[in-house]
Amino acid sequence: MHVVVCVKQIPDPAVPGALDAYNTLQREGKLILDESDSYGVEMALQLVDAAGGGEVTLISMAPNGEVSGLRTALAMGAAKAILVSDPALAGSDALGTAKVLAKCVERAGGVDLVLAATESSDGYTGTVPAQMAELLSMPALTFAKHVEVADGKIKIQRQTEAGYDVVEASLPVVVTVTAGVVEPRYPSFKGIMAAKNKPVDAVTAADLGLADQVGWAGARQEITGVTQAPARQAGEKIEDDGTGFEKIVGYLEKLKVI
């Protein structure tokens, strides 16, 4: 089984970020593997294992030829990567990104399954995987909290507000997985060393035949303004005077959880 995982390399969330003049996140420094995508990588490795063989290919679009995050995912066990890094990609909107990733999937060739996170952790619209699926003419199965593959078919549990739906499709498909769907492994020391020599196919927008459809020129979305998220409100404190439990039960009833 050949699984492609979309892997975003993002600025370290532990370091305060900054916006550039176009309201997009500055990505000049070292980039790391988006934790959201580590679930897809782990899921891919497990599925290939369960299938009794195959390969995991990573695809990533990132500035400055950045590979740090890719090396982490390669160290976890992915076989190879395709990296699209090109100044011409700066300013790409979600659809532009989806076009690039779809071309990468085609370049990878013979793909059974494309995995992505439901959304990235840094800047996101949550639309890229579905757009990519459309461009690839593959079904998009989203919000998977459990994935099974057998006999050329995939079955997922799709997270809903009430619980989950079971959704099935024939391969190949695009699947987005939720955070926490599997426990991502730590790369072993040998894995980290081996990752240094795994192939990373570095390509440009022109190599993918997308030169004029991406970047600022191709973008149809524009970020017109950014506002601070409201500070989290302090929670309600309940002093326990012996009837604390009643107040908590009342509160849970109000939320309709009990």
Partner: protein, 382 residues
């Protein structure tokens, strides 16, 4: 001269930092509390390659330098000293006799599972009547039926009684009635060998997550292939192994000192008395400045000993100096760090108290500090 790390060493440090902060730090305190060796964590470290630290890849290890091992220890020990203690005992004294002195068949059979992290190694030297005076051991191995019959008792042995332990590499006397001088040889006794039993896990002031026990050998018969290396060289094999163990205890001491310094500094900045953070009082500042200065000195001594070993040069004196200096510092720094925390630091619920309890043994294990003095003085020519 500096001890800047290679790329592979930096990668190892990153891996250890990540695992220590995300897995060891949250999970190990409970194991300490329950006086239980967290072999789940040790197995996970094994899967990452960390249990084969100083063993070449050919035998299942990662072939790390001693400098890299010290740097890795600085991360692991920052999170928890018991896990770090079990880990380092396995990596150095638990594995090295088989690597340094074993035959290829013995390495394949016993070292590979240790290096690949599937089993835990132990080193059996100390006996109730022979600690510092290693020559005084009385555990005996005599020739019997084409093998050896072992009788005796070991004490304070780490890593031999867990659900992950492979057994023990032990030192026994082998001279016969005709010999005028004592002779010592190294043997492997595997868990489950008839006659080999262990006492209950001993209760220490600290290192409560470490499994330390008495081991009993009652007519334990092992085949000839369980004898490790030259049967006349057992004692020197054990002493050579301990040289590396001393660098390791020095590194463990560095990590403890860094941990308590970090905690004391954090607390001093946030605790207010007399209308200001206590870090504004010179009495507190000087304590912190002293610990930080001594830590830097001990760190350089430890990395120096490690880099000598990596360069294939003698490092006996430097390893003893590093162990002496760093373990003393760990004990005094832990005490001062508790002092800075006041009553809170005395309470076992505060992490600094756990590290305080863990400190004392650093002056005792793998050669007491008195013995380090003896070694250093001998090296000076006294």
């Amino acid at each position: 001269m500096d001890f800047s790390l290679t790329e592979a060493e930096r990668d190892l440090v990153g891996l250890c930092r990540d695992f220590a902060q995300k897995e060891i730090a949250p999970r190990a305190p409970l194991a300490w509390e329950e006086a239980r060796c967290p072999t789940d964590l040790l197995r996970e470290m094994g899967a990452l390659g960390l249990l084969g630290m100083l063993i070449p890849e050919a035998w299942g290890g990662i072939g790390m330098t001693t400098v890299g091992f010290v740097a890795a220890m600085e991360q692991i020990g920052l999170a928890d000293q018991s896990v770090a203690a079990a880990w380092q005992a396995h990596v150095t004294i638990g594995s090295l006799p088989l690597y340094l002195f074993g035959s290829d068949a013995q390495r394949e059979r016993w070292l590979r599972p240790l290096a690949e992290g599937r089993a835990l190694g132990a080193f059996g030297l100390t006996e109730p009547d022979a600690g510092s005076d290693a020559r005084g051991i009385t555990t005996r191995a005599v020739r019997r039926d084409g093998g050896w019959l072992i009788n005796g008792r070991k004490t304070f042995i780490s890593n031999a009684g867990t659900d992950m332990s492979f057994g023990v590499t032990l030192l026994a006397r082998t001279e016969t009635g005709d010999d005028t001088r004592p002779a010592y040889a190294t043997f492997v006794v595997e868990t489950g060998t008839p006659g080999f039993t262990t006492g209950p896990k001993m209760r220490g002031i600290g290192w409560r997550g470490l499994d330390t026990r008495e081991l009993y050998f009652d007519d334990v018969w092992v085949a000839d292939d369980h004898l490790v290396g030259d049967p006349a060289m057992g004692l020197s094999q054990f002493l050579r192994t301990l040289e590396v163990g001393r660098i390791s205890i020095a590194a463990l001491s560095l990590s403890l000192t860094q941990a308590v310094l970090d905690m004391a500094l954090d607390y001093a900045r946030q605790r207010e008395q007399f209308g200001q953070p206590i870090s504004k009082f010179q009495a507190i500042q000087f304590k912190l400045a002293d610990i930080a200065t001594e830590l830097e000195a001990a760190r350089w001594l430890t990395y120096r000993a490690a880099s000598l070993r990596d360069a294939g040069q003698p490092f006996l004196k430097e390893a003893s100096m590093a162990k002496l200096k760093a373990s003393r510092l760990a004990v005094s720094a832990a005490s001062e760090a508790v002092q800075i925390h006041g009553g809170l630091g005395y309470m076992l619920d505060s992490p600094v108290a756990r590290f305080y309890c863990d400190a004392k043994v650093l002056e005792i294990g793998e050669g007491t500090n008195e013995i380090q003095h003896v070694v250093i003085a001998r090296e000076l020519g006294c």
